[in-house]
């Protein structure tokens, strides 16, 4: 929870001891920090940003909302100098500026924390920070400065820890500390809470409050509307590259914000009646353990679960606790030594590769869309073939392995229509789609063949509200038709919305599943933090 205001005095004293780190020109005037007018970016025939206006005052937390593909990323990339605008002006403290590179942005006082971190696993936190500083400071100096900043802002951090050993939340702290060391006046945060536990997110909000109280401004990109309502002073909503609304999120409801983003009311997910009686177990995992394949991998130990027909089982957990390894073990990208460890539809599948498991009726959607679920430079139709060439060989392949291009193009079109995938050309390369649209496609690709078992890792990571609702509904519908669905997700709202039971993965171990009727955010959140199901008390004390 947010700390009481009485703590602020003590903390402020700490900042003033830090010399120049927070020295800014905050007190100069009350004018706008950033005033963007008519910013436009065109990719081919697509106007990614169309005359976007946006202003940010000093000490303001400004939310940037929009569906995937609405132009949020393009917009902030132009602010951070990673893309060049086609038209429009950026006024920084009242003066027009041309931001030609991220270095230039940093010199002006604009810092950015990316959604996907850019850290080297094998280096320490301090070494990673040093790489981004341009002043050639010694490692000890950097570590000391990082430690001071991290303490002042409530971002506990060991500068000498190797990044590979840290949790996602801790890695994000490194990114934020690295950004703060540049002494920015405007901090851009891209979906910062999507990787955090509820408790970690609360800590982040405290840090943001502190930054705001110092007069720094924050541009906050998120699709979590509750968070935006809670934190942000103003919001700008983008749709199809245009500003459709500017509002005070505190005066709005989550559904009115969602309506601005997608243009009409987001349909809530309909669970329908849940029968108490489920069918046979379609996925059984018994005592699955694995050794770490490389120094930064997580060992799985003794995981047992089963998912029955018509059931959706959720696996919660903070990223990096073995979900990726677990997914690969279930999908058959990594084989088990004992064939009976994984059983799909009653058949031993532990020694079958992913193709063999697909042929048993399983469908898989991994966490990473580009480079794992899809090959970036191949068109969508060929990416359809990626996971379906064996199960649909009769439809998609002719003798001698010749590909029936007409058939895969028609199937791709069917999926695009069913999942409402938005694209700029007939059959674009996977990398040309926005994240949410590609996710709809790779999920639709599996749904299209009506799998008996569906295993999805992070189904709606970084996906906008409209697309996420569609994906969740599709998973529920699939379960209703009698499939077993296993959903691995860090998004608790999502798991509570769709699952029949939730288990938690922590350091490669899986808790017993909590039936949804008994599960609460707090119980799950504590398990995510490493408490054992039996004694949540101990963990609460540790955190206090």
């Amino acid at each position: 929870m947010v700390m009481g205001t009485n703590d602020k005095g003590g903390e402020n004293a700490a900042y003033s001891q830090m010399g120049g780190v927070v020295k800014t020109t905050l007190t100069d005037d009350s004018g706008l920090l950033l005033d963007v007018r008519g910013l436009t970016k065109v990719f081919g025939s697509l106007k990614a940003c169309d005359a976007v206006d946006l202003t940010i005052g000093r000490g303001e937390i400004h939310a940037l909302l929009g569906e995937n593909g609405a132009g949020k990323s393009t917009f902030v990339k132009m602010l951070f100098g990673a893309l060049e605008p086609a038209a429009g002006t950026i006024l920084w403290k009242g003066n027009p500026v041309a931001i030609s590179s991220p270095g230039e942005a940093r010199r002006l006082g604009i810092g950015m924390v990316f959604q996907h971190f850019s850290l080297f696993d094998a280096l320490t936190a301090a070494e990673n920070i040093m790489l981004s500083l341009e002043d050639g400071a010694q490692i000890n100096t950097v570590a000391e400065r990082a430690r001071k900043v991290s303490e002042a802002y409530g971002l506990p951090l060991d500068p000498y820890a190797h990044v590979g050993d840290l949790s996602v939340g801790e890695r994000q702290r490194i990114e934020i500390v690295r950004c703060l060391l540049q002494n920015p006046e405007l901090i851009i945060l891209d979906e910062p809470t999507s990787v955090l536990t509820p408790q970690e997110a609360d800590k982040l909000f405290e840090t943001l409050e502190t930054l705001r109280s110092e007069g720094r401004s924050i541009l906050y990109i998120s699709h979590r509307l509750e968070e935006v309502k809670r934190m942000c002073d103003r919001a700008t909503v983008l749709r199809h590259g245009r500003v459709v609304a500017q509002c005070d999120p505190r005066q709005e409801t989550a559904s009115s914000l969602a309506r601005m983003m997608v243009g009409d009311e987001v349909k809530g997910v309909e669970r329908g009646a849940r029968g108490g009686d489920k069918g046979n177990a379609l996925l059984e995992v018994r005592r699955l353990s694995s050794r770490a394949a490389h120094p930064f991998a997580v060992e799985l130990s003794d995981i047992t679960l089963s998912v029955r027909a018509g059931e959706i089982l959720g696996i919660a957990g903070v990223a990096g606790n073995g979900q990726g390894e677990f997914f690969e073990a279930i999908s058959g990208e990594v084989l088990q030594e004992d064939a009976d460890v994984v059983r799909i539809r009653g058949q031993s599948a532990g020694r079958l590769d992913i193709t063999g498991r697909r042929l048993l009726g399983a469908g898989f959607v991994p966490e990473e869309r580009l480079g794992h679920a899809a090959a970036p430079l191949l068109p969508l139709s060929q990416n359809l073939l990626l996971s379906r060439y064996s199960t649909d060989a009769a439809a998609f392949l002719a003798p001698l392995g010749f590909i029936r291009y007409g058939a895969i193009a028609r199937a791709a079109k069917r999926i695009v229509d069913a999942m409402d995938v938005r694209k700029s050309t007939e059959d674009p390369e996977a990398t040309a789609l926005s994240g949410g649209n590609l996710q709809k496609f790779v999920i639709g690709r599996e749904l299209d063949r009506r799998p008996g078992l569906m295993v999805v890792d992070q189904p709606t990571w970084g996906v906008d509200a409209g697309a996420a609702a569609r994906i969740r509904q599709a998973l529920i519908d699939l379960a209703k038709e009698g499939a077993a669905v296993l959903v691995i997700s860090q998004d608790l709202d999502e798991l509570f919305e769709i699952c029949d039971a939730i288990a938690v993965m922590h350091k490669g171990r899986l808790s017993a599943p909590l039936p949804i009727a008994e599960a609460t955010y707090e119980k799950v959140g504590l398990l995510m933090g490493g408490a054992h199901a039996g004694d949540p008390q101990a963990r609460t004390e540790e955190m206090a």
């Binding site: 120049g20 990719f43 060049e84 100096t141 090959a375 970036p376 060439y389 392949l397």
Partner: protein, 371 residues
């Protein structure tokens, strides 16, 4: 002042398509400058180098003779490079293919039948493929770097050939010259049009191989597998494709084609083994593969261009009196410009002035911080 490469957010499709032609044009300009520096008239030099060899029929045959091994090896390499396997050792696979294919006519000269030639070709393919399998197995099994192992095996193959022709395989009636006996007539790859010139059936093999591999890459599941694994090994694994099997496949195909090129060259163009049987075809084919943009049909065109540079080098020696090293210089410039054009299509250059001048204000701030 220093240079930085900045990735372009979008690449121009027009310039991607034009890139090989731009590279050719730039090579010609640089070549003209080179001839000028050598004190020759650049226009007549370029004429003798690139135009004159195309005006005579016999000379076109020579072009096909030189292009055959380049195209055969180049299309094989395209499979390797598309699947992210960096086979640099085609020269060695070419030589071992030639040696393996020559076993019958050299060790069993009495065995004379129409079956000899097909057997020789098959043995050449097998030899090249087996030699290509060495770096492949090392990479698949032990994770060695195939660039190093395949390249080092080239020197092993060259020295082994040298030893064979000076030692055990030396022609007993050859007055101690370091060469094997001449192949008997059943062991000679025939000329396609004996009336007009020397071009042998190796050129037909090259065209057929290019077309077959083009079909494989563009139309079949195997070609799809090559592209997926090359672009993204994880997506390949997700698709259920085996990276290990792909390593072996790519090296066997390119080694086999290099071996076929080797035995075709020896039985078609040379007629015996000598200490040196290749003017660096295996290395030049790397340029061919990239100039052809790793597309087998593009590689046919690129192979002809590079073959012309060999012919031009020979012609230029005679007509304008420059060394044949000029051909190597042209090939080098061509590869340089192809890679440079591709790089500049993906990146733009930015000049970075020394840091203190530009970052004056922040630098001061940092000084304060340290103080």
């Amino acid at each position: 002042m220093r240079l930085e490469l900045i990735k372009r957010p979008q690449q121009s499709p027009l310039f991607s398509a034009l890139s090989p032609f731009l590279a050719l044009g730039l090579t010609l300009i640089a070549g003209a400058i080179m001839f000028l520096a050598l004190g020759k008239n650049p226009f007549s030099a370029l004429y003798f180098f690139f135009i004159d060899p195309l005006l005579e029929v016999w000379s076109l045959h020579e072009l096909a003779v030189k292009a055959a091994p380049l195209i055969l090896i180049g299309v094989g390499l395209s499979i390797c490079y598309l699947s992210n396997n960096w086979n640099i050792g085609a020269e060695g696979q070419f030589i071992v293919g030639a040696i393996a294919g020559s076993i019958l006519p050299i060790l069993f000269p009495a065995f004379q039948s129409w079956i000899v030639l097909p057997l020789m070709l098959l043995m050449g393919i097998a030899g090249g493929a087996a030699y290509g399998a060495v770096p492949a197995v090392l990479k698949a099994r032990f994770g060695t770097n195939e660039i190093l192992t395949s390249l080092m095996l080239v020197y092993v193959a060259q020295l082994f050939l040298d030893w064979l022709v000076r030692g055990p395989w030396r022609n007993p009636e050859g007055f101690n010259f370091p060469e094997t006996r001449n192949f008997h007539s059943y062991a000679i790859l025939p000329e396609m049009l004996p009336a007009s010139g020397r071009a042998h059936w190796g050129f037909a093999f090259a065209i057929i191989a290019a077309i077959l591999l083009w079909f494989m890459l563009a139309r079949t599941l195997k070609g799809f597998e090559v592209k997926v694994i090359g672009q993204s090994p994880r997506a390949g694994r997700f698709a259920g494709f085996s990276r290990t099997r792909m390593i072996i496949f790519a090296f066997l195909v390119s080694g086999g084609l290099a071996g076929l090129a080797g035995i075709s060259e020896v039985s078609g163009a040379i007629g015996q083994l000598r200490p040196s049987i290749s003017p660096g075809y295996g290395f030049t084919a790397i340029i061919v593969a990239f100039l052809g943009r790793l597309n087998p049909l593009g590689i046919i065109a690129a192979g002809l261009v590079l073959a012309l540079s060999y012919l031009g080098g020979e012609a230029a020696q005679i007509s304008i009196g420059v060394t044949d090293k000029v051909a190597r210089a042209f090939q080098g410039m061509l590869l340089f410009f192809v890679l440079a054009c591709d790089t500049l299509i993906h990146y733009r250059i930015r000049l970075v002035k020394p840091a203190p001048a530009l970052a004056a204000a922040p630098a001061n701030e940092r000084v304060e911080k340290h103080a």
